[in-house]
């Protein structure tokens, strides 16, 4: 699995960019499902608003037209002193590439190109564990969840068995 996964990572950048991210509101909807947001941790900080339900269904599509130069600088030193590619701040803002590719991404989701990455899976999916690895099975399409930056995304893979 490790080997095939690393191959997946080498998928052509173009395809990756095109298919990298689905619409953020979809991701919101996905995260609301199932366990919801109520989390309890011993001694952990209680975040305000963590039990609130967010509904972005009425958000204007124009809010997705984020320009490429829009960079989210939320830490000083990581921005002025370190010459690394910016991947957006910890605040999980809409990534310029993500939003620019959003419309294309929905197409990619439909096509479910192996190796493509999406931010959320369709609603008809169910979690599936095989050989100790977690998947989302959505009809004949399989996704493997992985962290990309601080977020969970899903790689379209060939059926694991």
């Amino acid at each position: 699995m490790q080997k095939s996964l690393s191959k997946l990572f080498l998928a052509p950048l173009g395809a990756l960019l095109l298919a990298s991210f689905a619409l953020a509101p979809v991701a919101d909807a996905r995260e609301r499902g199932g366990g919801g947001r109520q989390v309890s941790h011993d001694g952990g900080p209680r975040g305000g608003g963590r039990d609130l339900q967010v509904n972005n269904s009425r958000r204007d599509v124009r809010t997705n037209n984020v320009r490429n130069t829009s960079v989210n600088n939320v830490n000083v030193n990581r921005n002025v002193n370190v010459d690394v590619d910016r991947h957006g701040g910890w605040n999980n803002n809409y990534h310029p590439v993500a939003t620019a590719a959003a419309v294309t991404a929905t197409v990619a989701v439909t096509a479910a190109v192996v190796g493509s990455i999406v931010r959320s899976v369709p609603p008809n999916c169910s979690p599936y564990s095989y050989n100790g690895i977690s998947y989302q099975r959505c009809g004949s399409t399989w996704y493997q969840p992985q962290y990309v930056g601080g977020d969970v995304q899903y790689v379209v893979i060939n059926a694991p068995y």
Binding site: L5, A27, G34, G35, V39, P45, R78, V82, H87
Partner: protein, 259 residues
């Protein structure tokens, strides 16, 4: 009609005062000359050093930040987003961060050489082996995985990872009040980034507000953070140990440059 004339008269005076130096109310009194200032005010750099040194002495603390950040649309219109984060810290090698916004709720739990990312709503987590100190952990998570730790500046100021000799402009912008705290306000410029900091006045300076402006984009997107401190936190060390819920599943984390 009278009002109209008055308005015109006022406008005329305004135009005159704007176009003629020395007449407007803002004009400097005769004889006063502005003091010569260097681009980098040494006292402002010194204030940063002092704050950094103080931050490095804090062993156990809790900080919450309220962040407003901006994205720029194609036509230059800006949208502002809100996020919050709270970190619990025990130097040198324990940290827990909780990040929440309308877009996601995430956690980072770090202890010794292990960093765990956890997304409660999805019940997925991933672990990565990292350095045995907070500064190294921050650097490795970002460099290897593109994971940014909230409030990472707090661990970099006062260290070699936050050099101050590249700052191109530094100035004291006076004093301000943040919440109930009297603060010294400083403004810096380096490369395409302008940034401002408000630190509490006195011998134990703590950053209370931070503004970062990106000049690489003509719309100048900006982020504003307010920091709230608790130097006598009541959390227990158990917060630094991640015990996955029984229904949580471990997944991988994608390296930035897989080979």
């Amino acid at each position: 009609m009278t009002h109209h004339k008055l308005a015109l008269g006022w406008l005329g005076w305004l135009a005159l005062s704007l176009s003629t130096p020395g007449i407007g109310a803002e004009a400097a009194p005769a004889g006063a000359s502005s003091p010569v200032v260097s681009a980098v005010d040494p006292a402002s750099i010194e204030a940063l050093k002092k704050m950094g040194a103080h931050l490095q002495t804090l062993k156990r603390f809790q900080v919450r930040t309220e962040l407003s950040s901006e994205t720029v649309l194609d036509d230059g219109q800006k949208l502002q987003q809100s996020s919050s984060a709270e970190i619990q810290v025990q130097r040198p090698n324990q940290l827990r961060a909780m990040m929440w916004s309308a877009r996601a709720v995430r956690e980072l739990i770090y202890q010794d050489k292990t960093a765990t990312l956890y997304t409660p709503a999805l019940k997925y987590y991933a672990t990565a082996e990292v350095a045995d100190n907070i500064g190294g952990m921050i650097d490795q998570l970002e460099a290897r995985y593109g994971v940014q730790v909230p409030l990472s500046d707090l661990f970099l100021w006062g260290t070699a990872a936050a050099p101050l000799d590249q700052i191109e402009s530094a100035m004291n912008a006076g004093q301000d009040i943040i919440g109930r705290d009297l603060c010294d306000h400083y403004a810096f410029r380096q490369g395409k980034i302008d940034w401002q900091i408000w630190m509490t006045t006195g011998e134990a300076p703590l950053p209370r507000k931070l503004v970062i402006t990106n000049r690489a984009d003509e719309a100048r997107p900006q982020s504003v953070s307010y920091l709230a401190w608790n130097l006598k936190p009541t959390f227990k060390d158990t917060v630094f140990k991640f015990t996955p819920p029984s229904d949580a599943q471990a997944i991988g984390i994608r390296p930035l440059n897989p080979r």
